[in-house]
């Protein structure tokens, strides 16, 4: 793979979801030249698009950053780093308002103020929806990036790994899918904004492509990961009909003042108590009912609002793109029963960062979902998108500052090694059944690291992860020229398998139950020993798992 193309900029941002787009804008506005690379088309891939569009911010007169901060910490069962939670709470309002400067539109009430809602876990009304949901936000930020003269947007570019220069990260290498050739993206600082690894679980509500690439690349480059066992399971992900599987319906809307519905078991008994519990508790009610055999024919429970007077009064809540999509599949959310189950929704853990997105590796920054320590063991609704804006902007700025002083250039040998690694994957006949391996891994993650976990199941997941990883590493795909999706599939599978091993290892290490991490063999919360992050670091002999204190 000699003669590979080379692009250079001050700052490289990998991933163009809410966090990457905001990081690119921050760096560029501060004067940096930026490359923004995304493995799919921009504003047409990534989790941000699927978001309902709720953002949290202190906009209500009776609210305050202190109250917001307390909600984050309480909701996260004490595992959010205090400085990050404080930063998020303090800067949310400015960053959320600022999305309008980039062309997004926040929902207003009749009086022209922000239309604020209050979801479980929020001490004050604090949720404001962006028009058009996550797509409204992503499309506006993407257009702003394309307007910025010094941001080079490179879409359909699959980053395969980070490259270092003199010990610091100095860019990344990858595959230009449109042109079919490998390329080097050299930069003084690199921001990973590649999202989570929810595709690892067989039941999830995320788009394909949430395969944990960036988290695994950071880990391979020596960065510390935290709390990889912490994945948020959304209570009500659609499992039937099959054409809708993976979409979700709001469990939040079942609240008495919204649609006042419930999730029902096979016998018609309601599963959720009122007032509605927070996500982690709600998903446990569903998971337990399913485990007790109360589920429907396809393993789920029935989300239903059809007999509620409140639902009729608030039917407009279902007049959004998200529910129109469900209607397009022949299901009427206002009257039909929709079969749902808890599914992987959001990765709480990830790359360990400080408030500027700095990782433990010089020159490497990480922003929102791939970053790990600002939520803890659960996340408030609306915190995900807000975090993309607050920490995306901070990481972009910090990366620009670092780049100005670093002058790091990729080592020739590091670049060659990465291209050689890629070239070694090519030239085969494609005999490995990647889809079958992926399904095997995803079933093992669902089974072993789903809502209820124990040492035996996690051990089995670690075993399957190792086997799948070995098979994926041995797979050779045809050198297919443009859009080598087989190569992408195999590299994503490797990332997923490596992420699975880290999830299993961290989940085994945390011998307690906290938030979304439910250990059937350690059912109690253990504050004496586990008000700490689990950690994972790469060593020559494989991952080293440990723990570290939560920052106050």
């Amino acid at each position: 793979m000699s003669g590979a193309a080379k692009y250079e900029a001050d700052v490289l941002v990998v991933g163009a979801g809410g966090a990457g787009l905001r990081a690119a804008l921050a760096a560029a506005e501060a004067g940096a030249s930026v490359i923004l690379a995304n493995k799919g088309p921009v504003a047409r891939s990534g989790v941000t698009l699927t978001a309902a569009g709720g953002l949290q911010a202190v906009l209500h007169p009776d609210d305050s950053p202190e109250l917001y901060y307390e909600d984050i910490v309480r909701c996260g069962y004490g595992l959010a780093d205090g400085d990050l939670a404080r930063t998020l709470a303090a800067e949310a309002a400015d960053r959320v308002r600022e999305t309008e400067r980039y062309g997004a539109r926040l929902m207003r009430d009749a009086a022209g103020g922000y239309a604020l809602g209050q979801f479980p876990g929020m001490a004050r009304p604090r949720n404001v929806f962006v028009k058009g949901g996550g797509i409204g936000l992503a499309a506006a930020l993407a257009a702003a990036c394309r307007r910025q003269g010094n941001i080079r947007v490179v879409e359909d570019f699959f980053v395969t790994g980070l490259v270092k220069g003199g010990g610091a990260v100095a860019g990344a290498a990858g595959l230009d899918l449109k042109g079919g050739a490998p390329a080097l993206l050299a930069a003084g600082a690199t921001v990973l904004a590649t999202g989570g690894c929810q595709w690892l679980w067989a039941t999830n509500d995320c788009p394909a492509g949430t395969t944990g690439d960036g988290i695994v690349y950071a880990y391979r480059a020596g960065a510390e990961l935290v709390d990889m066992e912490m994945v948020l399971f959304y209570p009500s992900v659609i499992v039937w009909p099959p054409s809708l599987a993976g979409a979700f319906v709001h469990y939040e809307f079942l609240a008495p003042d919204v649609l006042d519905g419930n999730v029902y078991d096979r016998a018609g008994k309601p599963v959720l108590p009122k007032p509605l519990p927070r996500r982690d508790e709600a998903m446990l009610f569903l998971a337990r009912a399913i485990r007790e055999g109360r589920g429907g024919p396809h393993g789920g429970l029935l989300w239903y609002v059809g007999d509620s007077p409140q639902a009729a009064a608030n039917a407009s809540r279902l007049n959004t793109l998200q529910y129109d999509y469900i209607r397009a599949h022949g299901v009427e959310p206002a009257t039909d029963r929709i079969e749902v189950a808890p599914g992987a929704h959001y990765l709480l853990g990830g790359v360990h960062v400080d408030a500027d997105g700095r990782t433990s590796v010089p020159g490497l920054f990480a922003a929102p979902e791939c970053a790990g320590n600002f939520d803890g063991a659960n996340r408030l609704a609306g915190n995900g998108l807000t975090a993309t804006q607050v920490f995306g902007a901070r990481a972009g700025l910090a990366a620009r500052r670092w780049a100005a002083g670093s002058g790091a250039r990729p080592d020739e040998a590091a670049v060659r090694a990465e291209f050689d690694r890629l070239a070694a994957r090519l030239g085969g006949k494609g005999g490995t059944d990647v889809a079958a391996l992926r399904n095997r891994l995803r079933a093992a993650a669902q089974e072993g690291a789903g809502v209820g976990r124990d040492a035996a199941g996690l051990g089995r997941l670690a075993q399957v992860a190792a086997e799948v990883r070995a098979e994926a590493a041995a797979a050779r795909v045809p050198a297919a020229g443009v859009f080598n999706q087989q190569l992408v599939d195999v590299l994503e599978l490797e990332s997923m398998a490596e992420a699975a091993a880290l999830v299993a290892g961290c989940a085994l290490a945390r011998t307690e139950t906290r938030g979304h991490h439910v250990r059937e063999d350690f059912p109690a919360r253990d504050d004496a020993n586990w008000l700490r992050h689990t950690t994972a670091r790469r060593t020559a002999d494989g991952p080293a798992f440990g723990s570290k204190p939560v920052r106050p």
Partner: protein, 118 residues
């Protein structure tokens, strides 16, 4: 296979490195329930890994990642349903340049009326 449990998908195959023109290739996808065109393409990619298609969905019918041409009409693949027993022909969306198979380049829109495939 029971015809009632099968959806027939005729997909457009085109590799710029080796093909002068595209051709259609037939696949059978087992399903007892309706599936979206986008989900069908993902299944075909699973059955034949050399077939390329976009797989990231927004679950909203809005982003346009799934834009393709189904039975001669430009559609959103994620909200276009096909029932068991039916046949669907899927080609690249007509308004964008083709990269490979049914994958188009959203950064290279074509003038109205131009056929993407030619």
């Amino acid at each position: 296979m029971d015809e009632e449990q099968v959806i027939t998908v005729r997909v457009y195959r085109y590799d710029p490195a080796s093909d002068k023109a595209g051709r259609l290739e037939e696949h059978k996808v087992a399903s007892a329930a309706p599936l979206s065109v986008m989900a069908l393409l993902a299944r075909v990619h699973e059955l034949d890994a050399t077939f390329c298609c976009r797989t990231a969905t927004c679950f909203k019918g809005r982003c346009g990642s799934c834009l393709v041409r189904a039975d001669g009409r430009d559609v959103f693949g994620c909200t276009t349903l096909v029932r068991p027993g039916e046949t669907v022909t899927v080609e690249p969306h007509s308004r964008f340049a083709v990269i490979r198979d049914v994958v188009v380049d959203f950064e290279r829109p074509l003038a109205a009326g131009t056929e993407a495939a030619e």
